[in-house]
């Protein structure tokens, strides 16, 4: 691809010319590149000058009839794109296709060859439109298409360039999955199409054969008709042979892919596929027969319908297959689902995505405890994914926090054999045919005049291919999947090198040049007509460098221990690359220009690093020591984690109050427009998984509860220590609301909030106490009501009761300090979601303590056989008291969580016994 004119978009001349001539530029963009719209109240909104409001996914095709055209947008909503010119943008994105989608007669081979092309991945910037896109090019096979290929591309279009750049790897891996799905479906469809066609051809051959014999008989062996027939027959034979070859090729799709677990989940939607194909051809046969008979009747010299078809593919009036048809409807729908998932996944601004990625990466590390308070769905997903994690994805985690998870295919994993066999069964049959007719075949083809036509056809194909791609031979694949594993670590080592700070200028320059010329996958292109500083920031050095702070800051610390980077390997790679660069740099244009711009880029980087990105690494680092400790080092590790517990809720609240937002409105308006999604955030219903959304909503009511009731701490203590809390009231709404609010404090809530029963109207039993930790109970004046109160009274030792009507709480006393930090009724936090975050962080901290407590061997078991239980117990008590800083009641919380962790670790989420304590309850009033 080196030397491709498309790539050298950022030439020096253009840069200078445009930068200084164009008067429409806003000067402050130079000085403060991070906040291009200083007047804008929302610093995250970069979409102001783009013509679309939300990021979206665009699928385009390079149609051989009409050229580049947009096909589908996800979300499929005209509002999303706004006035954005999809046609123009399709042209732009299709024009940067570098893949070698080449089918035809390679030199030295007599038959058309299918190339199994890797997808290419390109980043494109169109600053005029304010659009930046990650573009994933792929090629699908179509028997009727020119060269058997149909170029498609999927583009993730965003107004935020940084988002594309920083999420490049995630985007790439997600889109690769989607593309793989499409291609799998396409191969399947292509194979069955080939099979059908083969059947047609064979049928045609028998018809022709019969006719030839007839001709020979009637007109003699050397009559013109007979020769004509023979030629046609030969043509068909050749065509059959070629199609068989194609079928063989498509069915011998590189098995490399098949080893990917990612590849497996595709379900074969219609297993009796070949049978169906048979039926199809059978049902088609009468037509064919008719056709053939028609033609024979008309004496129009034996044109087989297939051959006509093959030629007619070039006609412009012919309808091309739609994407659905190309890919088998099932796979198409799968892909659409997947793309919708991708769209959802990358919704919101970069900061949000980045944070949630870090969060998920951290969650992955605490599988043992996150069932306690984390959103159930997330970790379950992680687990699923963890099972089928690819090595290459693992490497990705090194660089990019995490590969976004997407178990999109819920279908049963299908064995690869069943897929390949459905394709391969036919070739075996074919082979026999070939051997039968082999001799016949070659004889005829050698002398047949149709050879010429065939050749012509192929030549023209070749020519066309060359025309569209640019260079026939030297097609290089840009962002192949192969290149990714290597790429990640390299970037990291680079960043380290830069930060070590020996001659960074030179280093950066090298980087820059490397980016331009090497076969690395991140390619940023920009429109030639509008080169503004915006584009300069999109230079490669910037793109690469931008990832540095994040990677270094948080990854350097915690991940290096976990996954020691393969340095030696990297060095070798790097050395190799540097050699490449030296050769390449000579032919690279515009190098100096970028160097000149370097300072401003750097400035931008620093701003970026200080302003936005560094926040996250700090916050996640706080948790690190606790997460990292080994069992044996646990005690040393604990004090490290301790300062984090001094996290001041007021600090959080300050920021929020400054935003001066209405208390009641709990919208996430400070995030970007796309973050506040349209999902309805109703209180969770039984049967629906609890989402963070629900919990955030609940945060608001929880905050209200804490402000309103001075005994909130006792109530929360009950929940945290595993004592069932009953919310008693006559009004269903009030009770439900309070239950909903308090549910955020229930450990091991369960995916569907099984531990919570929002509304009960019948007396409950001891079994309910075993299952539910938070119960909303209807106070009734009926006999049922009295018996219910009786059961409340009877089981009073196991429960605490909040009476919403009388505003009382009956529960054990709480004298600890832990819950007071969690539920301070004088808290300055005003917003529910903020409070939820606060709670979440406290609870995470709590569960890390519980983890520590659980996995310290000598706290639970004697060190030596002589040691008695008493000394173990005293050691345990002193650990809780002095190391974890937990007094009596707090220790009970930690102990309860620890028991949950043990049970979960030993037997999974199954619920067993419930534990309780014999303690006196008190009645609290407002």
């Amino acid at each position: 691809m080196i030397g491709s004119p498309d790539l050298v978009a950022l030439t020096k001349d253009d840069d200078y010319g445009d930068t200084y001539v164009d008067p429409s530029l806003i000067p402050e963009e130079f000085s403060v590149p991070l906040f291009p719209h200083a007047g804008n109240a929302n610093p995250w909104s970069k979409t102001s000058f783009a013509k679309f409001t939300k990021d979206f996914i665009l699928i385009s095709e390079f149609s051989e009839q009409v050229g580049p055209q947009p096909l589908i947008t996800i979300p499929n909503d005209s509002k999303v794109c706004g006035t954005f010119d999809l046609n123009y943008f399709s042209l732009r994105i299709m024009s940067v296709d570098y893949q070698a989608s080449f089918v035809g007669h390679p030199p030295g081979c007599g038959y058309p060859k299918l190339n199994f092309v890797e997808d290419s991945k390109v980043v494109l910037g169109d600053s005029k439109e304010g659009a930046f896109a990650y573009i994933h090019h792929l090629t699908l096979y179509d028997l009727e298409a020119r060269g058997f290929v149909r170029p498609f591309c999927m583009a993730y279009v965003s107004a935020d360039e940084t988002k594309i750049m920083r999420q490049f790897l995630e985007l790439s891996s997600e889109f690769s999955k989607a593309s793989e799905c499409l291609k799998t479906g396409n191969r399947k469809a292509f194979a069955s199409e080939l099979e059908k066609k083969l059947k047609d051809l064979e049928y045609t051959r028998t018809v022709l054969h019969r006719e030839t014999e007839l001709q020979k008989k009637t007109n003699g062996c050397y009559s013109t008709q007979a020769i004509e027939k023979a030629n046609e027959l030969a043509n068909v034979e050749k065509s059959i042979y070629e199609h068989k070859d194609l079928l063989k090729q498509i069915s011998s799709y590189p098995n490399r892919k098949t080893k990917d677990p990612e590849f497996l989940p595709y379900e074969l939607d219609n297993p009796p596929d070949s049978a169906e194909a048979d039926q199809d051809s059978v049902s088609n046969d009468p037509n064919r027969e008719e056709l053939a008979e028609d033609s024979s009747c008309a004496r129009r010299a034996s044109y087989t319908p297939q051959l006509i078809k093959a030629k007619s593919a070039k006609c412009f009036d012919k309808r091309l297959k739609t994407l659905e048809e190309l890919c088998d409807l099932y796979f198409f729908n799968q892909t659409m689902d997947q793309l919708t998932h991708i769209e959802k996944m990358f919704r919101g601004d970069l900061c949000y995505i980045h944070t949630s990625q870090i969060e998920r990466a951290l969650l992955k590390q605490q599988k043992i405890t996150d069932f306690l308070f984390e959103d159930y769905k997330e970790w379950e997903e992680e687990e699923e994914e963890g099972a089928e994690k690819q090595p290459y994805e693992e490497k990705l985690t090194l660089v990019c926090n995490m590969p976004p998870s997407s178990p999109v295919f819920p279908g049963e994993p299908m064995s690869l054999e069943s897929y390949t066999s459905c394709v391969e069964t036919v070739p075996i049959k074919m082979e026999q045919d070939v051997s039968e007719d082999g001799l016949h075949d070659t004889e005829l083809t050698e002398s047949g005049p149709c050879d010429i036509t065939q050749d012509n056809l192929e030549e023209s194909m070749n020519a066309e291919m060359k025309g569209s791609v640019g260079s026939g031979e030297s097609i290089e694949v840009l962002g192949t999947e192969r290149s990714f594993p290597a790429q990640g670590p390299v970037m990291k080592s680079e960043s380290l090198a830069v930060h070590q700070g020996q001659n960074p200028e030179v280093d950066r320059r090298k980087e820059a040049s490397r980016r331009t010329n090497s076969e690395d996958s991140i390619e940023v292109l920009s429109t030639t007509e509008s080169v503004i500083p915006e584009d300069l920031r999109a230079s490669y050095a910037c793109a690469v460098h931008e990832e540095d702070p994040g990677v270094e800051a948080w990854g350097g610390d915690s991940y290096q221990q976990g996954f020691p980077a393969p340095r030696q390997h990297l060095d070798v790679q790097e050395a190799g690359r540097y050699e490449n660069i030296r050769v390449d740099s000579s032919c690279c244009l515009g190098q100096e220009g970028r160097v000149c711009e370097e300072p401003s880029t750097e400035l931008a980087q620093e701003c970026c690093a200080n302003g936005v990105v560094k926040e996250e690494p700090l916050s996640c680092r706080q948790g690190d020591p606790a997460l990292q400790v080994d069992f044996c080092l646990a005690e040393e590790g604990a004090p490290g984690g301790h300062p984090a517990s001094e996290l001041n809720p007021n600090y959080l609240s300050d920021e929020v109050s400054r935003m001066n937002l209405d208390d009641a409105s709990d919208s996430t308006s400070f995030m970007s427009a796309s973050t506040s999604s349209d999902r309805a955030s109703s209180p969770f219903l039984p049967g629906n998984p609890v989402t963070v959304k629900h919990k955030k909503k609940a945060g608001q009511s929880a905050l209200r509860f804490i402000r309103q009731y001075p005994f909130a701490q006792q109530a929360i203590f009950c929940l945290l220590s595993g004592r069932t809390l009953v919310v008693l009231g006559a009004d269903e709404g009030t009770v439900r609301k309070l239950v909903n609010a308090l549910s955020i404090f229930v450990p091991n809530l369960g995916k569907y909030a099984e531990a919570v029963k929002p509304w009960v109207t019948s007396p409950f039993q001891i079994t309910d106490l075993q299952n539910w930790k938070l119960i909303g109970l209807h106070r009734m004046a009926s006999p049922t009501g009295s018996s219910m109160l009786y059961s409340l009274n009877r089981y009073s030792r196991y429960i605490s009761i909040v009476d919403t009507d009388h505003k009382t709480l009956r529960s054990p006393a709480y004298r600890g300090s832990l819950v007071s930090r969690l539920a301070d009724h004088r808290t300055q936090i005003k917003r529910g979601s903020t409070y939820f975050m606060h709670v979440q962080s406290m609870l995470t901290q709590l569960s890390s303590r519980a983890f520590l407590y659980t996995f310290c061997h000598h706290l639970h078991l004697p060190i030596s056989p002589e040691e008695g239980q008493e000394s173990v117990a005293s050691r345990r008590a002193s650990f809780l008291h002095h190391i974890l800083g937990c007094k009596e009641e707090d220790a009970r919380i930690v102990h309860f969580l620890s028991e949950l962790i043990k049970q979960f670790y030993l037997q999974g989420p199954r619920k067993g016994a419930f534990a309780f304590n014999y303690v006196t309850s008190f009645l609290y009033k407002i």
């Binding site: 001891i766 059961s791 049970q903 016994a913």
Partner: protein
Amino acid sequence: MLRWILGGRDAQGPVEKTTVLFIGEEQPKNSYTELQVLKGHFDIVRFLVQIDDFRFASAGDDGLVLVWNVQTGERLRELRAHSQQVTAIAAFRTESSRGMIITASSDRTVSLWDTETGNRVQMVSELQSSVKCLLVLERLDVWLSGGNELCVWNKHFELLCKTDCYKDAGVTAMIELPKNCIVAAVDKELIVYRLIVSSSETETSIQEICRLTDHHDSVRTLISVNDQMFASGSHVGELIVWDSLDWTIQVYERIFWETAQTDSQPEIKLTSQKQNEMSIQHLTSDGEFVVAAVGNGLYIYNILTKNVVAYRRTAHDSNVLHSLLLPNRQLMSCSEDGSVRMWELQDLPLPAEPASSGFFGMWGFGRSSKLASQQVKKVVETPSLRTLELTGDLIGHSGAVQMFLYFGDGSLVTCSTDHLIIVWRDGYKESRLRSLALFHKLEQNQGL
């Protein structure tokens, strides 16, 4: 379920007011801080039988026999065959078989089960009457069934011999005595049989030796105290301790009856109202003490000193159904009021004190200053008088707790009319066990 809640409530209504026995929520001596509810039965669960160290079987009115793991609470086997309620269950331990249980049902069948496989190994059906009690004589490899007649069977479920038919009342209880003797309770009488076992099984026969007719009302419970003695309790509160060899009365106590009689007028009224207040529901013994569950109360009788050492007239709010003496002078009892209570035998600080009504005010028994009965005198005279202190109670069932089973590792299994079985465990012990398992698993997994 509701029926039981309401019923239970009605029953204990008036009693609750008079009793001062309430331990409160603070129970430092109660180690049962973990409970697990086992669901599976559809009707009253009446019987629990221990199979081995970790397994037990439960049976009840739904005819189901369920085998459970006491450590995990897992239901291991479900033995379904009886169409009617199970009336008796016994572990069948012989030299050749392990983990077998015999069950008898109102459908007049008796089955032998292998709890390992869940298969029914043997069965007899179409018995003349339903079997009310079972006795397995491991030594002789035979088992006995008591209904309207007493039958002796070998391990292959072949009838060896049987006694005459007792028309009006069947055998309600039987125990083994030395010298191949068996004593069976038939209404008011205790009948002693001798089993004559010869080398060939066909000649095995059972012979009635004598009838003990000292009880004035039907015998409710019959236990063997030790090798020399066995005890029986009747519906009117007679406790008789017999000599196992010559079947003579060692101790005859109608103390409970007499205390009621000697009390003032209201007490008599009370007796007439509640005849079963006097009934001895259950007897248990550890060889030295015999615990009698009399109505709502518990009485502990010392065989050696032949006196009552401690008692609680209203130990429960309703009839005590089952009790058990544990080592360390601990006592457990369960009752129709749905609770299990744990007691401790404590020495009184001053033996002279019992006379003071102020001190005994809380007993609800010694309040009366004119306690003239002989046994109370005895009590006062004896320096070894002790008090039964309530150390804890277990509340979980919503119906009467029929019986409980105490496992060696400290866990307690209770069954109840509310169809539930509850396993109570020592929370600290369980926590430690879990930690052990956790680190074991960690070791196996080689880290997290």
